[in-house]
């Protein structure tokens, strides 16, 4: 199983499934930060977008993900102020330029992205930006891996471990996988050769272990500075993952020192009960129980142009990757 959106894309893009020997199957896990954002959390973001004084600042394709009844793109078309940035520091510049508006950064992403948001918060503190806040929806990987294995639903024999997350966390944090579950993992880079090498290393393991394939970027201990930043600005909390439900300690909320930047404290919204889209099987896709084409909506009612679930919207989502880069003989590719 791979648990990183960029790995999902790379596997599909290079058609690696076609190259595997019989008896080896690649399954996608919850590696896409947009895809694992719970519908209820997205409803909060949408509700914030509707506040007239608020500008929602977000990364990439969160804009198109359907919430219970809307999406940020739909809200923007209806007059809400929603802006896409590439780096969290861009949000600070926006806030500084328009002091009369409140800028809320929808903080999604795993350990790769969270340190950059932490850095932005330190800068916001230094600059005394009172109109900037963060709705932290960040999540951390180890808890999700545990939850997947605890559920015991799909037989995972090994993990292709995330490349960039591991640059920050280091590979030691995965040692519980062989230690407690008897499952090995290899931290992989993003070229086809990197992914294939990781599979080779996994296949060759005599006993389950954690290895680093992506040696040019990842160490056992990880990036201390980023880890310290995270520890200062964020604190672990429980988080709801789409498809996986509540995973204790798998989320990041702002620490006591930075609570004044927490959007959920600064604004009060009542988003109502979350509604999952009917027929959507994103949850099972994220848990690796089904491949995207097994969902009845895949390629028919749910396509990149008209997505129903998050896994199809995000370019890193398993369904989007499968659809965009589908193997030529994939029946989902045939015209309806």
């Amino acid at each position: 199983m791979e648990v990183c959106g960029t790995h999902t894309m790379a596997i599909s893009r290079y058609g690696l499934r076609d190259l595997l020997p019989a008896g080896m199957r690649l399954v996608s896990g919850p590696g896409c930060p947009v895809c694992v954002t719970a519908v209820g959390d997205l409803d909060v973001v949408v509700a914030l977008a509707r506040l007239p004084e608020v500008t929602i600042v977000t990364f990439g394709d969160l804009v198109r993900v359907p919430s219970s009844h809307s999406s940020l793109a739909a809200e923007r078309a209806a007059g809400a102020d929603v802006r896409v940035v590439y780096a969290p520091t861009d949000a600070l510049e926006l806030a500084a330029a328009e002091p009369e508006r409140q800028f809320v950064l929808a903080g999604i992403g795993f350990e790769t992205t969270a340190p950059t948001v932490a850095g932005a918060l330190l800068m916001a503190r230094e600059r005394g930006l009172g109109n900037f806040s963060v709705l932290s929806l960040h999540k951390t990987m180890p808890g999700a891996l545990r939850a997947l294995l605890d559920a015991g639903e799909s037989r995972i024999d090994g993990f292709i471990l995330p490349g960039h997350v591991s640059v920050v966390t280091g590979s030691d944090c995965y040692r519980f996988l062989p230690g407690e579950y008897g499952v090995g993992g290899v931290v992989a880079g993003f070229t086809a050769a990197d992914v294939l090498e990781a599979l080779l290393l996994l296949a060759r393991q005599q006993e389950p272990a954690i290895e680093i394939g992506y040696r040019r970027a990842v160490t056992a201990a990880g990036n201390r500075v980023a880890q310290e930043l995270l520890a200062r600005v964020f604190a672990p909390c429980d988080a709801v993952w789409r498809g996986l439900g509540l995973i204790p300690g798998s989320g990041l909320r702002l620490s006591e020192e930075f609570r004044d930047f927490a959007a959920e404290e600064r604004f009060t919204v009542e988003p109502g009960e979350p509604v999952e889209p009917r027929g959507c099987r994103c949850g099972e896709v994220l848990r690796g129980l089904i491949d995207p084409p097994e969902c009845a909506l895949f390629g028919r009612r749910c396509t990149p142009e008209m997505p129903v679930g998050a896994c199809m919207v995000s370019s890193e989502g398993a369904c989007a990757a499968h659809f965009r880069y589908r193997a030529f003989d994939d029946p989902a590719g045939a015209d309806d």
């Binding site: 990183c4 290079y14 058609g15 190259l19 930060p33 990149p304 965009r324 030529f328």
Partner: protein
Amino acid sequence: MPEDRILLGHGSGGRLYRDLVRDVFLAHFANPVLSRLDDAAALTAAGRIAFTTDAHVVQPLAFAGGDIGRLAVAGTVNDLATAAARPLGLAAAFVIEEGFEIARLHEVCASMAATAAEAPVEIVTGDTKVVQRGAADGLFITTTGVGEIVAAHDVSAAAATAGDVLLLSGTLGDHALAVLAARGDFAMTLDVRSDCAPLWHLVEAALAAGGPAVHFMRDPTRGGLATVLAELAEEAALGIEVDETALPVSPAVRSACDLLGYDPLSLANEGKMVFAVAPGAAEAVLEALRGRPEGARAARIGTLVAEHPGRVALRTGYGTRRVVDMPVGELLPRIC
């Protein structure tokens, strides 16, 4: 002209308007037809006419390798070229925002004049309107072109035949990344220049070498090569096989795509042409393309086939095959 900025009065058809036409447009575009300042330009053509129009709304207005003026001229000349039409004349309609600096308008017109001289084509008529501040993103230019079709045979998707060789005149994605770099959204320097260029000479060379063997021509602008191939496959009711390793992509574009998660096939170009040529003439046409500076990196990229009509298959460097679709929606960089 004493004013240094465009005023609403410049669009009102009176004295200010005549001064603007004389001091800016005529100063750069002067030619016998335009200088008459008639409401309509009289042109002579020997045979069939090609007619096309394009609106240009790029932001920012200038970028490495070009600006909105160069785009406006090259874009329309290239659309005419795809119909095997020598450009006879362009009309240029400007919608300018009140407050726009006249000095910048001079720069844009100088760029248009230089590009027109390269094409070669003359700007023989035009119009100017001025709108209130905030209504036009600075400047919008619409160019309409008339051309004289020089090919006796039909050049269109209908003429494309199974077995035809697909040629691409050069590297992919240069324009898209040059514009992105100019927007300053990414805090990184991209060593890319827009490929924006008029391609009549290139097309003329291809037609001289291949004659009626040149079945189809189209320029991959917004939507990239993927869109042109998808359209061709659908309109011709044929399949397409593309060799990914044959696609010319500059190292800078490739690195940027890897970093940002973009696919070179989806990126916009403004100085490239795709040709479908009967197999017997493919080498000769390729040589002719490579003989022009705009075609120095021309390459054979694939073939039209009778199998899987309407679908485009990409063979990756790993020997796997996957489907190529038209890109959907805005290009958004990856998050994690």
